[in-house]
């Protein structure tokens, strides 16, 4: 179809920072579609349409532009290119490949107006067809496989909305993303398809139905898996002042959590952190696949010094890519560090538009934007079937950091996000000051998921005859001890710990062990960085056992200082960073030693008499 080019051209009538006003296109454009400033190749998004002009937010800096310069209407909204070649890559907020930009520019800086396709046009992928001619195809069906890398198989799916009879499909072989792969007869019209699907970032990708979460997303962070667990398909907010450990938590999860695929968005944060992830993840080996972690990650980097409008897009760009892998039947996490920077970009743009500000200067539509983001999480049954005609189950877990000004959680981003998430990991500056990391405040944080995953956890156990209750009960006990310790805090301050009754001293002592042995976890220690479910249960049980037995001892007129003097305590404290996940039986030995030490304590006292 040949369109009159003239019809698609407008001219600039105002420039105000990244916001430009254009005349001549107002009659034909759709909101949120893209335009391009012809001379400099700058892309922008239409954000307001008036009767005589449109307002455009440019994704790059507007210096040197002049009035009356030509603007081309691109007739489509910002969309992601979905297909093989996303993994291990790093894109900016509008999916420009930063590695390719670096190669092209031969410079460490991003000049403006670079136009490179998101997915490589030259790379050939080994495509294996899984359907035959005359097969009836439904949206979401797996039509073939590309091994995107040795870790992840990339399922080529029939795009949403497409149904019909397969009339042609290529044989197994090497193809680029743009080569036609198969042809579908849709109501009498044959249509060609290649490996790429284009999908607008603000539109949710459809699925068949939402399911109830049953499985935890194991984070390997003890305080999280024990006290504030998340599920596959869940939502989490991680608020905290600067230096409280948001980024370290996000990175730890990206490294070790039990998802298949990670979409990591550096949204308005540091360039060095992106370099850190790229460098570390290329080196670190995923214990499950034996392959570099980088093979299961897609990075989106729109750092704080990059243009704000692309920062605003980066969150939705990321979640669209995440949904695409979810639709293949993978467990995907989307990690956004930090959603506050996204909201601030929204605020800056809103300010340029001179919109009426609501709370904190943020636009009134902030909550609805936030919910449209978090609501895309979930565990779902996808459209279509896999190659064995089974239903596909995929999940998308969303974990967003929040950077509240002055660390104050009553500000608009934190308080609005709370309305849309099920889990809240409140990071606390006091704990961070004490170098208690992860600085998750156990009194302020919460998770609504424990009852969903109790059954899953009840299957994770080690058969220690001495102590029998499951994860759910362990949780309750640990919570109880911690909250008692909190109640005693003021009292301790007033009279000194030594002057409290023995049972209360025991609570304080055990709470201290819980903090040291379980809650504090060093993300940079090879062993401590990730604690698997079994090791965690073992660690908790050994402490609860110590607690139970100590209580008995107190009843027999022993003192807390006797228990404090046990040699085994130091060993218990060092379990976290000396015993690897695979060697849990060693914790069993420590448990036996604990029981023996307790016995001999009684014996000695029994002999010499108290």
């Amino acid at each position: 179809m040949i369109k009159s080019k003239i019809k698609n051209l407008g001219t600039i009538s105002e420039i105000n920072g990244s916001l430009i006003t254009v005349k001549g296109l107002e009659k034909i454009v759709r909101l949120h579609d893209l335009i391009k400033v012809k001379k400099y190749n700058i892309i922008g998004e239409i954000i307001q349409i008036y009767s005589n002009r449109i307002n455009i937010q440019c994704f790059e800096n507007t210096e040197h532009l002049k009035l009356n310069e030509k603007v081309i209407y691109l007739e489509e909204p910002l969309s992601m290119e979905l297909g093989p070649g996303l993994l291990s890559n790093v894109f900016d907020g509008i999916q420009r490949p930063l590695d390719k930009i670096y190669e092209l520019e031969k410079s460490g800086f991003i000049k403006r107006g670079i136009d490179i396709p998101s997915l490589s046009r030259d790379k050939k992928w080994d495509f294996k067809p899984l359907k035959k001619i005359n097969d009836i195809l439904n949206s979401g069906d797996v039509i073939g496989i590309v091994e995107e890398n040795p870790t992840i198989s990339h399922y080529i799916l029939v795009p949403p909305g497409i149904e019909g009879k397969l009339v042609y499909i290529r044989e197994e072989g090497e193809y680029t993303v743009l080569e036609d792969l198969y042809k579908v007869n849709i109501k009498g019209n044959a249509q060609n398809f290649n490996m790429i699907q284009k999908w607008p970032v603000t539109k949710n990708r459809p699925f068949y139905k939402k399911l109830i979460p049953k499985e935890p997303l194991i984070t390997g962070q003890r305080i999280l898996d024990l006290l504030f667990p998340i599920v596959k398909g869940g939502t989490v907010a991680v608020p905290g002042g600067f230096g409280t450990g948001k980024t370290v938590i996000q990175q730890s999860l990206a490294k070790w959590c039990s998802a298949d695929i990670i979409i990591f968005i550096g949204c308005g944060e540091r360039g060095n952190e992106i370099a850190d992830v790229l460098q570390q993840f290329a080196k670190l080996i995923d214990p499950r696949s034996g392959r570099p972690l980088l093979e299961r990650i897609v990075l989106i980097a729109n750092t704080s010094n990059m243009p704000i409008s692309a920062r605003e897009s980066s969150i939705f760009s990321g979640i669209t890519i995440a949904e695409y892998y979810r639709d293949m039947g993978y467990d995907v996490t989307l990690q956004a560090d930090s959603t506050s920077r996204w909201a601030e970009a929204l605020r800056e743009i809103s300010g340029l538009l001179e919109e009426m500000p609501a709370e904190g200067g943020y636009p009134a539509y902030l909550p609805s934007r936030l919910s449209s983001f978090y609501e895309r999480a979930g565990i779902i049954e996808t459209l279509g079937k896999d190659n064995l005609k089974n239903n596909k189950i995929g999940s998308l877990t969303v974990i967003g950091s929040i950077s509240p000004p002055a660390g104050d959680f009553s500000e608009p981003i934190t308080s609005n996000t709370k309305r849309f998430v099920q889990t809240f990991w409140a990071l606390d500056a006091e704990l961070a000051y004490e170098k208690h990391y992860p600085a998750v405040n156990w009194l302020e944080s919460y998770s609504n998921y424990p009852r969903y995953i109790r059954d899953w956890w009840s299957k994770i156990d080690l058969n220690w005859p001495e102590i029998e209750f499951d994860w759910f009960d362990c949780r309750a006990q640990i919570n109880e001890i911690l909250s008692r310790e909190n109640e005693l805090k003021n009292m301790t301050q007033l009279v000194g710990q030594e002057n409290l009754p023995e049972e209360q001293q025991l609570d304080i002592f055990i709470a201290k062990i819980i903090k040291e042995a379980i809650l504090i976890q060093n993300a940079f220690d090879d062993i401590d960085a990730f604690t698997g479910p079994i090791k965690m249960i073992a660690l908790i049980k050994i402490i609860l056992l110590l607690y139970r037995e100590s209580k008995k001892l107190l009843e027999e007129d022993f003192y807390v200082k006797d228990i404090r003097g046990l040699n085994i305590i130091e060993e218990i404290l060092r379990i976290k960073n000396t015993i690897p996940n695979e060697e849990v039986e060693k914790i069993g030995i420590i448990k036996d030693n604990l029981m023996n030490e307790l016995k001999s304590l009684k014996r000695i006292h029994g002999v010499i008499g108290k």
Partner: protein, 462 residues
Amino acid sequence: MTVIYNKINQIIGPLVFLENKHSVQYGEVVNIIMNNGESRNGKVVRLNEEVILIEIFEDTKGISATNSELFFTNDTFKLNISKDMMGGTFNSLGKPIDIETKKLLKVDIIPEVRRDINGIPINPFARIYPNNVIQTGISGIDGLFTLIRGQKLPIFSGQGISHNELAAQIVTQAKVFTDESFLIIFCGIGIIHDEAISYIDKFRMSGNVQNIISFINFADDPVMERLMIPHVALTTAEYFAFDKDMHVLVVLIDMTNYAEALRELSLAKEEIPSRKGYPGHIYSDFARIYERSGLIKGSKGSVTQIPILTMPNDDITHVIPDTTGYITDGQIVLSRDLQKKEIYPPFEILASLSRLMKDAIGEDNTREDHSDVSSQLIASYSYALDARDLVSIVGEESLNAEQRSLLKFADVFEKTFLNQSIEENRSISETLDIAWKVLSYLPKNKLNRIHKKYIEKFYQRG
């Protein structure tokens, strides 16, 4: 082509409004020649069919609506940069000045390059993760909050706290371990004349002045210049780092003055203010400065930043330190309490942090025990502060032996480890040796953050 105008509609603060009759570029630099022969520069910040809005870099006093001529230069602002700048002192626009008289020198820099001062963002993919130490000779920094090449590590201070001494000490003592070339760029933002003279004097006395470039924006210089000078300093830094492969340390003092200028301009433009009248985009403005640091693939140099700021009312949650802390790779906080105890430099240990040190210290870089020692010092000091609090409530008598040893430890730590003279330049090894002397006030079995093998090797060594 240069377009000439001679009618100004309005002048409000640093903003000049013109009727739009010609085709100008967004961001273009404008020269204004006043009828007394003086000239000013500005740039186009808003453009529509009726009006051109220009921000004037320099003083707008004397500009009148009818007697000024405006020349559009057809280009954005460019800074002249050359190797000859080393050892020199410059104003906010990169022109050589005489520090004692504040006058422009009659010499001109013959540029090797001309660069846009706003820079362009570094491609995150092109960054190299920083992992080499810069030694400052100051135990608190080198031992606990180690400065890394390519890092942006700010110092949060307060009025009357000794940050000027500290800044000068860092500038004169800082060095890299390799024999690569090292350059210091000192950027004074809104500083008073006396201070500026005293800084430059110290640099001259240091014997290292040839490796220092100073940019000075005086407290009574115009607002717009205050906003430009960090970018002028960093554009220069990027040139020496990424074109000339040098390690460049940029000290920016005082970022609070920059932020105040930003607020003034924002209010003049009638932007919607965010916290405390500062614009919502202060985060992006700061980021455009602080993110101009790091290492880039393909060049051997680095840009390291130490921005120094004074916290209004010593409040770390104030917009300026808060926003800074969210962008920088850690922060070093100075304490008024320690300053009162005559401890110099008065580092507020618990609030301070160097995010990049963990991978850059240790056996191959500083010393094997460095990482454990620093976390133990901080952890024990934190316990000691709790014990100090307790003393004030229940009295020293009700402390147990462990708590008493902590109190002793904290005193010695402050007096011998943190405290040092303005001239004292300690090697990292000396710093760690002092650390062990201090740690030896604690029983061995309380050093649980230190690997046993280092305890065997270093404990009681002194």
